[in-house]
Amino acid sequence: MTGKHLLSIADLGLDEIDEILRLTDSFVEVSERAIPKVPTLRGRTVVSLFFEESTRTRLSFETAAKRLSADTMNFSVSTSSVKKGESLRDTVETIEAMGIDAVVVRHASAGVPWQIARWVDAPVINAGDGWHEHPTQALLDCYTIRQSRGSLAGLRIAIVGDVKHSRVARSNVLAFTGLGAEVTLVAPPTLLPPNLTGWPVAVSHDLDGVLPKADVVYLLRMQKERQIESLLPSLREYTARYGLTRERARLLSDDALVMHPGPMNRGVEIAADVADLPRSMITRQVANGVAVRMAVLFLMLGSTGVGRGA
């Protein structure tokens, strides 16, 4: 990879995305072994700096690091000095002083990984910043689609739900369209970004019209707060118009895939039994997430010789 950090999908060239996805194949193979561990990053330390709780993403990165034999450190806000008023910069510099080789950052505010990348020497991996980006999620989603369909080129992908507040949607729009898919955003207008100038997407408010032509329907998590902010009258009304109910799932073509970044609200954006259909990729996404993150860590730390103090 050319850049030192992985902050945005936009930082990656098509050849780099391809390299990560090809390498992911070999780490999927490693993950399926009886002892799913390789010594590649022995002696390296990867720190998870999670200012916002996300057990799933943190565990996925830590599992990836451990399968590469790296040491892991975990800093999460609930146990940290941030609550005692320490500044972001002081926290980051303290962690770096302990000797680290990579920083995996999750923060509720957009842009924090960019700020941290200006302050530390170690490579920074964005594990989700506010509404902005979540590049490894997009990579694992691309990998999962390629696994089933061979390629994203020419596929029609519907991203459904709360695009406005979604880092997953922003990264996936860049990745899916970059790899040649046609993306349609399906959401009530209040849950779309207020300005879509420059977004290479179509927009629809009619899920029933979009589903029959979709190769992939990608559902976003709907958060309950959105009702309080008057972005929606009720979750019930959202589900009625934009939820992937059992009836709506019948509109899908036979080989269409259903995806979700998790955690799901069964019964809101996706009906419980739809999540468990064979076409649902949801658990496979989780499994692939570990392998994709192994590939990213390997490319950032293993093959370049970037080490502590470098």
Binding site: S87, S109, A110, G111, W114, Q115, W131, P194, W199
Partner: protein
């Protein structure tokens, strides 16, 4: 007793025009303006050859942070920054802690300013604690010389309360100034809402939040017949509204800040909170509209909105960092470098027009003429310099212009007949 002072070799520019003249100052006043003045014995001579000699600049909008946030700025450091920027008077905004909302705090700030490097005036709050609930004692503060009132940092949201404030003010010969932002519409936003905010995932503030309050206040100015000043306007639609109100003869004035005619919202892509400000940086079309409005008289003044913040505060995540940028030491040079306006027009926007809005025209911004108070700035319009944040006199470093090359710089500043800046060096 202060020595006589001669400003020698310059070109005088003021509201009456431009002419080559030396200026002799004695006991705080201008005593002669003539083609070639022989300096009296022991007089201090300030070389102004190749320079413009103008009335001192007047800033309608400076946050000096005292009392309450002395780690970011004090009246003393802010006034020194002002003097270095060519200002001889600044109006200190009332969003201090405690707010400048009563005679006691007015007196404290005026007292702190009495020995500063420029004249320090204050704006009083319109409402108690700037909370937007009930009127502050406007007459009590006006009796101490306060002429401008605002809740700056927030607009007065309650239309009925704003109407009452305007009616009450009409008896006091004061001006109410508004921070134009509909709080409900702007709520939760941290940058301009548009293409860049959507791309960056930062909650936005729509331009209409500013436009709506300008429209409301124009209606209230018409209803009450009371004059109003609009602070830091930044969007084309608000400027159009002011243009129309002036055309209809309503008593409104307006200012814009240098960052709104020099920076657009694309710079936020760095996620550096040094670019966070309120009102936020806008798209290029609005930046262009501000430039046009400065040229066509819709805007009466360039005001800095100088807003110091500590390094720690500005290293927070973008959506947690406080809004604001330094401005006093760069405003004149930005206007000279970036606006294609004649020098006389730039000085009108920075000196005599804001002096009138602030009610300071008897002291500041007047013609460089015999008998006038000697508040002057001497500008070298050809000096090219690079903004170095660590060399600024402000206690804070949050300028968005670090590394930017500017043309035109203040060489000397004279306050009440005393040279407070000589060759770019502060003397107080």
């Amino acid at each position: 007793m202060v020595r006589d002072l001669v400003v020698r070799g310059g070109t005088v520019v003021d509201a009456t025009g431009t002419r080559r003249a030396d200026v002799l100052v004695r006991a705080g006043h201008i005593v002669a303006v003539a083609d070639d003045i022989d300096p009296p014995a022991r007089a201090e001579v300030l070389d102004a050859s190749g320079c413009t000699v103008a009335p001192g600049l007047v800033d309608l909008h400076a946050h000096l942070r005292q009392p309450g946030r002395e780690e970011a700025e004090t009246v003393d450091t802010g006034a020194r920054a002002a003097a270095l920027g060519g200002y001889t008077a600044v109006v200190a905004m009332p969003n201090t802690d405690p707010a400048i909302d009563c005679a006691a705090v007015v007196r404290e700030v005026l007292d702190l300013g009495s020995t500063a490097a420029c004249d320090v005036h204050v704006a009083g709050a319109i409402t108690v604690g700037r909370a937007g609930q009930r009127l502050a004692p406007l007459a009590e503060m006006a009796a101490l010389g306060v002429r401008l009132f605002t809740d700056d940092g927030a607009g007065v949201q309650d239309s009925r309360l704003m109407r009452r404030a305007l009616e009450y003010a009409s008896a006091l010969d004061i001006t109410l100034a508004q921070h134009c932002e509909d709080a409900a519409l702007a709520s939760g936003g941290h940058m301009h809402e548009g293409e860049w905010s959507s791309h960056l995932g930062i909650p936005g503030v729509p331009a209409e939040a500013e436009e709506l309050m300008v429209l409301r206040d124009i209606a209230l100015a018409r209803l009450t017949g009371t004059r109003m000043h609009f602070l830091h306007l930044s969007v084309a639609a608000a400027l159009d509204a002011v243009r129309a109100a002036k055309g209809a003869g309503l008593p409104v004035t307006a200012e814009a800040a240098p960052h709104h005619f020099t920076l657009d919202d694309s710079v936020v892509a760095s996620y550096d909170p040094v670019f966070k400000v309120n009102p936020p940086l806008r798209p290029t079309a609005d930046v262009e509209a501000v430039r046009v409005a400065l040229g066509d008289g819709t805007l009466d003044a360039i005001a800095t909105d100088h807003a110091p913040h500590t390094q720690e505060d500005k290293e927070a995540p973008f959506d947690e960092a406080p809004p604001g940028m330094l401005g006093l030491e760069t405003a004149l040079a930005l206007a000279l470098t970036e606006l294609s306006l004649p020098l006389e027009r730039v000085l009108a926007l920075l000196s005599w027009q804001p002096a009138r809005i602030a009610g300071l025209e008897a002291e500041h911004g007047g013609p460089v003429a015999e008998g006038r108070p000697a508040h002057l700035c001497v500008i070298d319009p050809a000096t090219v310099w690079v903004v170095e944040p660590e060399k600024l006199a402000s206690r804070s470093r949050n300028t968005p212009y670090g590394g930017r090359k500017l043309t035109g710089r203040v060489r000397h500043t004279v306050l009440g007949g005393e040279a407070v800046v000589i060759d770019g060096q502060a003397q107080r």
